[in-house]
Point group: C2
Chain length 348, copies 2
């Protein structure tokens, strides 16, 4: 079907290895030979076979991005930047989706060995990767939005995260500072697994505790599920509202949850922020363009993506893992206000 290096060697009247040298700019070749070869390449529309190349070289110039649920709009914001930066460096990017229930490390390992990947980026997942995971992998690995278990040697991997617990603490504290006491929380956590959301949940509880507000389980809507989404937020909020008539604010552990929750609030005839304040997490467009625009703890997606790529290429050049913790930004767009005040002002 497609032409091989032999075909173009024959056509250009040179040896097979000369062609290879020209194509890879390795070794020497006279300008004339070079031109003859390139002419043949153009004529036959030759495309090198990467399977053969990778097999021979034992490593490809391909990086794979494993996304733990590609439907997460926040991840999308980073995909574009990641792709751009990788292509810019002459590498190739493949994207692989991993279901919420998928074993990302097992898949990563298989893919690396399968295809001689030269590096891997894991986006999403948990904070539970082990030292053995990275050793098995054998190629540079960058964790994006998550990190490894605390006892893992930091040299073995890179990570780019925000301090989920601290940021969530800040968000909750913001609501407290506005005067809220009955602050609800919608969060999806999976058993005892340490995930960004479970950390955010810790931050929420910590903020309440340190401000002397008792934690009311009836204000907390967690679900033993790693799945997030609009529908999840909507259902959880409906549930919360039916159980608590006096809830005044909600912290949603993701913007998609916040949007779903906002819809639930509005569909009950309540107003945002007049009756209920809402703050989300991540910083996705759907929350920005929502009406009202939703407050959020915005992660610096582009910078995080760039850091991840920088870390990956540093490791590719033999350096040790780099670990970056970014600061998120509390975006106040008007979906949070002191409890009751506006409502009373307008109504009364």
């Amino acid at each position: 079907m497609s032409s091989t290096i032999k075909d173009i060697a024959k056509l250009s009247g040179v040896g097979i290895s000369t062609v290879s040298r020209v194509l890879n700019n390795s070794g020497f070749a006279s300008p004339e030979t070079r031109e003859k070869v390139m002419a043949a390449v153009r004529e036959l529309n030759y495309i090198p076979n990467n399977n053969a190349r990778n097999l021979k070289k034992g490593s490809s110039k391909t990086i794979e991005l494993l996304v733990k649920s590609i439907t997460n709009p926040f991840f999308q914001k980073m995909i574009h930047t990641i792709e751009q930066k990788i292509l810019l460096r002459g590498y190739n990017l493949e994207i692989k989706n991993v279901n919420y229930s998928g074993q990302e490390m097992a898949i990563a390992l298989r893919e690396v060995q399968d295809r001689n990947l030269c590096g891997v980026i894991l986006m999403g997942g948990s904070f539970e990767y082990t030292e053995q995971d990275f050793k098995n992998l054998g190629v540079p690995c960058v964790l994006l939005t998550v990190s490894a278990a605390p006892d893992v040697d930091k040299a073995l991997y890179s990570s780019v995260i925000i301090d989920d617990e601290a940021e969530s603490y800040k968000a909750t504290e913001y609501l407290i500072s506005l005067g809220h006491q009955r602050i609800g929380c919608i969060c999806n956590i999976y058993g005892a697994m340490k995930t960004p959301n479970s950390l955010r949940f810790q931050g929420y509880k910590k903020a309440l505790a340190e401000h002397g507000i008792e934690i009311d389980p009836s204000l907390i809507s967690t679900m033993n599920d790693t799945r997030s989404g609009y529908e999840f937020g909507f259902n959880m909020m409906k549930n919360l509202l039916s159980r608590n008539k006096n809830i005044t604010a909600i912290v949603a552990m993701a913007d998609v949850i916040a949007v779903g929750a906002a819809k639930a609030v509005l569909s009950e005839g309540l107003r945002i922020p007049d009756d209920i304040s809402i703050i989300g997490f991540d910083g996705i467009e759907a929350a920005e363009y929502y009406s009202p625009a939703l407050d959020t703890v915005s992660q610096p997606a582009e910078q995080m993506a760039i850091s991840a790529i920088d870390a990956l290429f540093a490791m590719l050049q033999g350096e040790e893992g780099i670990h970056t913790v970014f600061e998120a930004t509390l975006l106040k767009r008007g979906s949070c206000a002191p409890p009751g005040t506006i409502a009373k002002k307008e109504r009364g």
Copy 2:
């Protein structure tokens, strides 16, 4: 690094080809041999090298999904189904993003030759693929949400689409039936390129013309750009509103545009549908959970994805291309109403 077929042959004390046969379930092998081999495989944690396998076989069991802009939320709805169905059949899915400005067919061709793909799915793009494109490709190709140029032999490719022009006609007609006359349109079209959006634009114009409504260029906001999105919708709508005080309805050629436009409308202090009716296209969650929920022409994403996979595997078995046109559903959620009526009722 990782173990090879030789290692496991040695360890299990059998020949190299026996191992291969066991692994591929081809040819015969005695149960004892089989067990010995499998034991060695487990012990060494052997993973076959796909580069070598593909190189040898000349074809992989990998299907690549090329997504023309993976940030489009509508495409996401289909990715999950596509992935599931492909894995179910024992094939592997790779996802590759193509920028708005990228040459998807050129990329597809390179990837196919590069990696011995056994099939390709193109999601998004234009209606301008040529017969030569499919011949060059040499493997089954399914177009999803787009199709090829009209003169291309239908046997060479499969396609799964909706009738964009007719559906857009219906949406526009719906607004007309509600009594609207000043119906605006937000659409991104790229030169003379035939895309889903340009077809929808045709449907809009046709509906107006056939109902005796003159087309007012000042109500149309097109942009010579293939990029879509929330921001695009927002800016175009702002622009439209500043130019037209008497516009009563808008048809947006995508839900992301509709959401952005809705935000623009609301941010001007206007109400939906009281002052402006809005209808979008596609059927994404962000429009469903918007407040108010936005009417839309909903594409049957899951069915379309399933059809695409079915078509692909039919072609893989030597059948000719299959072409399916789905019907979209006009979802009335309340963002469209007769012009002025509600507003007047409430205000007066």
